[in-house]
């Protein structure tokens, strides 16, 4: 075999090896970086994640550039391959001289001797004797990258933890929710109604999971919210709807509890106790006094009662409507007495003494606005430490309401057409909301004036 031909083969093998090295190094690092990013996305804060992402991108780009430069410098032509062979086989510069002489094109008297000398040395540096690796050692980096990528990036086992709020994915979802129109962002559908069920469950024409694909995270959020809503709504007496309306709770759970059952203890007759942490917070009229009342549903009594933890009717508090099957309330509050449906009628109407549908008693209603009169919380898109809480009974005053002692309901700014929906809204607004959902809830239930 011709030494120069063999040298060309060696050069091509060296170049292949160099190319493999560069490729494995770059791809392996990129895979490792992707795996690290995937793993870090579960537990890193957004800012840290962005830093890590930027750093890894820079690292990958740097290593890629370095690999390219190194590949370019290591690319072996004939003369470089001859140097490499000289190092490996110690040919006393025979091959180097042969290549140099061949490239110079000079007339050499000893060229035949030089060629013959190299031919006799050829067995010392044939491919097999040189031991050029077929696969570079850094293939292990590629393998490690592949393994890490499979382990970190492929979804298997438990579902991943919810994405941190503030991440680009969640922000995108929220933006999508906002873009779905007033029906989603403005009003809460009636529980039990077909529309509501359809929307919440995603079965309706406007289901969340439809279309964009997104959106498993939002769907989960809404599913959980729906379940909480349902539990909450079932646990409480729905005083706004008329009997027999779609979505109306069974009549058995609309009654008031007897006075004896106005405690926080579960009712003995099957009354439903709201889930833990879902009790309504009622602010007393007195400054700083807060009472947590837990409603009990009495399937037989038909009277909605509210048990005061701290006892005592708050002074000046107006009785409100919300009696299940009972006679319409007189709308008069007595001093020291407590209307068990006070909270339930808070947003019923801005006009006092409007009778509820289906025999529900009219009552003085407190306006919504004063009830939400607390300073708005800066939830910082769910990342803040503040908790989202709404309290009832914060409004005071004697306007509206008959009897003077009853608390007057302030004028509501809510249009009458939305009252029904807002009545439902009112029943859920005191929920203790998980902090990570606050941002979502605020956006979903945002009212647009």
């Amino acid at each position: 075999m011709d030494p120069l031909s063999n040298l060309d083969r060696v050069a091509s093998r060296l170049n292949r090896l160099a190319l493999q090295r560069a490729l494995y190094r770059t791809v392996g690092l990129a895979l490792l970086s992707a795996a690290a990013l995937g793993a870090a996305s579960f537990w890193l804060e957004p800012r840290s994640f962005r830093l890590l992402f930027s750093g890894l991108v820079l690292l990958c780009v740097g290593v890629g550039f370095f690999s390219f430069v190194r590949l370019r410098t290591a690319w072996a032509r004939r003369i470089e391959a001859a140097r490499w062979v000289e190092r490996e086989a110690d040919l006393d510069e025979r091959l180097l001289t042969l290549v140099s002489a061949a490239e110079s094109g000079r007339e050499l008297r000893l060229w035949p001797e030089l060629e013959q000398d190299n031919r006799t040395q050829l067995p010392r540096w044939e491919n097999e004797s040189l031991g050029i690796r077929r696969v570079p050692a850094n293939v292990s980096l590629l393998a490690a990258g592949l393994i890490a990528a499979i382990a970190a990036l492929l979804p298997f086992g438990e579902a991943p933890a919810p994405l941190p709020f503030g991440s680009p994915a969640v922000e995108g979802l929220l933006g999508q929710v906002e873009g779905e129109g007033p029906q989603r962002s403005g009003a809460i559908p009636q529980p039990g109604s077909g529309e509501a069920e359809g929307e919440l469950s995603g079965e309706g024409g406007k289901g969340v999971g439809e279309g964009t694909g997104a959106d498993g995270a939002l769907a989960r959020v809404q599913t959980e919210l729906r379940e909480q809503f349902q539990r909450s709504l079932v646990a409480r007496t729905l005083g706004g709807g008329s009997e027999g309306e779609p979505g109306e709770p069974p009549s058995g759970i609309r009654g008031d509890l007897p006075e004896s059952d106005r405690t926080e203890q579960p009712t003995q007759d099957g009354g439903v106790t709201p889930p833990e942490g879902m009790g309504l917070l009622v602010e007393g009229q007195d400054e700083g006094e807060k009472e947590e009342t837990v409603r009990r549903l009495n399937p037989e009594g038909g009277e909605d009662t509210t048990a005061s933890q701290k006892g005592g009717m708050r002074e000046g508090e107006a009785p409100k409507s919300g009696e299940g099957k009972g006679a319409p309330s007189d709308g008069k509050g007595k001093e020291g007495e407590q209307d068990p449906n006070a909270e339930l009628l808070v947003s019923e109407d801005a006009t006092p003494k409007v009778g509820g549908a289906g025999g529900s008693g009219p009552g003085d209603a407190k306006a919504t606005a004063p009830l939400l009169a607390k300073a708005p919380l800066d939830l910082s898109k769910g990342r803040g430490r503040a908790r989202f809480s709404l309290t009832l009974g914060g409004a005071s005053g004697s306007e509206g309401g008959e009897g003077g002692t009853a608390m007057a309901e302030p004028q509501s700014y809510i249009a009458s057409g939305e009252r029904g929906a807002q009545a439902e809204d009112r029943r859920i607004r005191h929920e203790s909301v998980p902090p990570e959902y606050e941002g979502v809830i605020k956006r979903v239930f945002e009212r647009k004036s």
């Binding site: 140097r83 000289e86 190092r87 006393d92 510069e93 025979r94 180097l96 001289t97 042969l98 140099s100 002489a101 061949a102 490239e103 110079s104 094109g105 000079r106 007339e107 050499l108 008297r109 000893l110 060229w111 035949p112 001797e113 030089l114 000398d117």
Partner: protein
């Protein structure tokens, strides 16, 4: 790209060169006991077309080596004992007034001892610089110009000069510029005990070894052919670059080498690079190659570079020799080879 070989007219093969060289070593070795390395270096310089300066104390065989070389090559040989009153014309030759049979008188050039193939300039440092210069000019130009007439020296022309490192009083050390014209400076060391015993046995008996000429016919032509073969040895650009860096590294003004900067006043001239390459070519042929390797350069560097380095006073006081500097440079230059 293919390289067309030139027509190799009358060019011996590398194998023939090796055989001739080995035969010469063997013949000279009959009478010269020991000094095998020195003898090899002298022969390398001879075939490289250079001249050799031998440094050694009296009585260790300097003259014997030169005379034996002449005899083995079957070339003309002359010896000049340099003294302080030796004149240039005593070496180069002179014009004399000669009267013909017809009575006419004319100036006739009478060649000096310089007109020979192999010349021994014994204790060259004892003559005046003027005489030294006359010899060194002939060594460089291979010609002598006397009274406007240029006289070519015979080819091959080979000068072996000796230096006596002792008895320096009344001597004229060769200037560096003249030292530079010697291809090699070969030190002759004291023989070992076994070598002295063999010297005694060979030179005090009744039978004196007889040197046989290596070349049967036209030895001068044959030697010149071998010298041409040496010139044809191929040197890769990497080797040339290595030699150039090695020589430049010995120059204290341009090198970053601390040892060189500390102890060397003047480094090697480009003649040092020529000596390295020419000597390495011969070594390559002796090693059966037609290309020069880095190892060939390394083998020849000590005798090719040592006498071209001028050390400073600090080196003298600390016992640093030119040879140690060259060894250090070779060590430094190893990393340039790959």
């Amino acid at each position: 790209m293919s390289v067309q070989p030139a027509v190799a007219a009358e060019l011996p093969t590398p194998a023939e060169f090796g055989r001739a060289f080995t035969a010469l070593e063997k013949e000279i070795g009959k009478v010269v006991v020991g000094h095998r390395d020195a003898l090899r270096q002298i022969l390398i310089a001879f075939f490289a077309g250079g001249h050799v300066l031998i440094e050694g104390v009296p009585g260790i065989g300097k003259t014997l080596i030169v005379r034996s070389l002449g005899e083995a090559l079957d070339l003309s040989f002359s010896r000049v004992q340099f003294t302080i009153d030796l004149m240039p014309a005593d070496v180069t030759g002179t014009r004399i007034l000669e009267e013909t049979e017809s009575g006419r008188r004319s100036m006739v050039f009478v060649p000096g001892p310089l007109f020979t193939h192999v010349m021994l300039a014994d204790e060259i440092n004892r003559s005046t610089p003027k005489t030294q210069s006359a010899l060194l000019e002939a060594m460089q130009e291979l010609q002598v110009t006397i009274a406007g007439t240029t006289h070519l020296l015979p080819s091959p022309f080979f000068v072996l000069a000796t230096l006596n490192p002792i008895e320096m009083e009344g001597t004229y050390p060769l200037p560096e510029a003249q030292l530079d014209r010697f291809l090699f400076k070969v030190p002759l060391a004291y023989p070992a005990v076994d070598e002295i015993r063999e010297i005694v046995r060979e030179t005090t008996g009744a039978l004196t070894p007889k040197i046989q000429p290596v070349f049967d016919v036209e030895p001068a032509v044959r030697v010149n052919q071998l010298r041409r073969l040496v010139r044809e040895v191929i040197v890769a650009p990497e080797i040339e670059g290595y030699v150039a860096r090695l020589v430049r590294e010995s120059i204290p003004d341009v090198t970053e080498n601390e040892r060189v900067k500390s102890y060397v006043s003047f480094g090697s001239s480009p003649r040092g690079a020529q000596a390295l390459v020419l000597g390495a070519k011969v070594v390559a042929l002796l090693n059966g190659r037609v290309n020069v390797a880095f190892s060939d350069v390394e083998a020849i560097a000590p005798v090719a570079l040592s006498h071209r380095l001028v050390l400073n006073f600090a080196a003298e006081t600390e016992g640093v020799t030119p040879r140690s500097i060259v060894d250090h440079l070779i060590e430094v230059a190893r990393k340039w080879q790959r």
